[in-house]
């Protein structure tokens, strides 16, 4: 099982994702530089968090034009599992691989804290090993995490069960007061229609070891491994 971790200039959770899959899960992992045009036989692609191109212009905007993104598109079109975390999610949206956009958090400030998210679907390569309704404690760290789609598209997303993670409290209940950034429908993560491309704002790679406060994030990567073996 081999993960490709794409590095854009300004990515800064690339090493964290690498550490999680390589050292915590014991899987193979390769860094792929954004100018590369070869995913080197990877089974799963990870677009890590960070501030690609400084988040200048708009988060993820410039990175979505990187040469490697053509390969990621091909890989996704062939059904390969792709996950975008935080800035990686923003890049997937800018690249048109997922629907919607991320606005500035409703209270404007950057937020770094733990949140709870509820798993809304287990038929994706990144949630297959989780249980439906399972509550995960994961960190967030972003200023532009306020997910937005127009109401008609939101209805589509819901109807197609494309919402994969929702902000909730520790008991799994959603409410405005536990929605950290104002995302429509408390959406923390979504997938594409084909369900192989997933994007989320929380950082599962930061929650893979209990020493760091939570290992709830492991299930995301373990799912990817299991999905491939299956």
């Amino acid at each position: 099982m081999k993960f490709a971790i794409i590095e854009f200039p300004g990515s800064n959770c690339d090493h964290d994702a690498y550490h999680a899959v390589r050292h915590v899960l014991g899987q193979q992992a390769d860094f792929i530089w954004h100018k590369d045009t070869d995913l080197r036989g990877a089974d799963t692609v990870v677009l890590p968090g960070g501030f690609s191109y400084g988040d200048y212009l708009r988060t993820g905007a410039i990175a979505s034009f990187s040469p490697v993104m053509d390969k990621v598109r091909e890989f996704a079109a062939a059904g390969g599992p792709v996950i975008g975390i935080c800035n990686g999610f923003q890049i997937l949206l800018e690249a048109g691989l997922l629907d919607g956009a991320l606005l500035r958090n409703r209270r404007l400030k950057f937020l770094c804290q733990d949140v709870h998210v509820r798993v809304e679907a287990t038929d994706t390569p990144f949630t297959a090993s989780a249980e439906l309704g399972q509550v995960l404690k994961l960190p967030i760290a972003h200023r532009e995490g306020n997910y937005h789609v127009v109401p008609e598209r939101l209805a589509d997303l819901e109807a197609n069960r494309q919402v994969i993670f929702r902000y909730c409290d520790s008991a799994g209940l959603t409410s405005d007061s536990v929605n950290p950034n104002g995302s429509v429908g408390s959406i923390a993560g979504i997938c594409n229609l084909r369900r192989n491309v997933v994007g989320l704002m929380p950082h599962p790679e930061r929650a893979c070891e209990s020493l760091l406060g939570s290992d709830d994030g492991r299930v995301v990567f373990e799912s990817a491994v299991a999905a491939l073996v299956a």
């Binding site: 212009l57 905007a61 949206l93 500035r104 404007l108 937005h148 104002g182």
Partner: protein
């Protein structure tokens, strides 16, 4: 080149400024929306061409048309000095 959030999209920055203004006593301000603008220095043979290039750039890169609208203005005089 002017890029603004579409009217249907909530603008938290504009709202915050509005709140600040009202707490400063500027009651006459009814609404604030924040946008970005870009000054591009484009070498082109005609204003027409500059417009085409700029519009393409705005559409492709500078605006995210999912949430933003844009408007392009060309100031051809600028170039003449060069």
């Amino acid at each position: 080149m002017f890029v603004t959030l579409k009217p249907s999209v909530f603008d938290p920055q504009g709202q915050t400024i509005l709140d600040a203004l009202s707490s400063l006593g500027y009651e006459s301000v009814r609404d604030v929306r924040q946008g970005k603008f870009f000054e591009l220095d484009v070498v082109a043979d005609s204003a027409q061409e500059a417009m085409t290039i700029s519009t393409e750039i705005a559409d492709k890169l500078l605006a995210n048309t999912v949430i933003e609208g844009y408007r392009v203005e060309v100031d051809p005089k600028r170039g003449e000095g060069d």
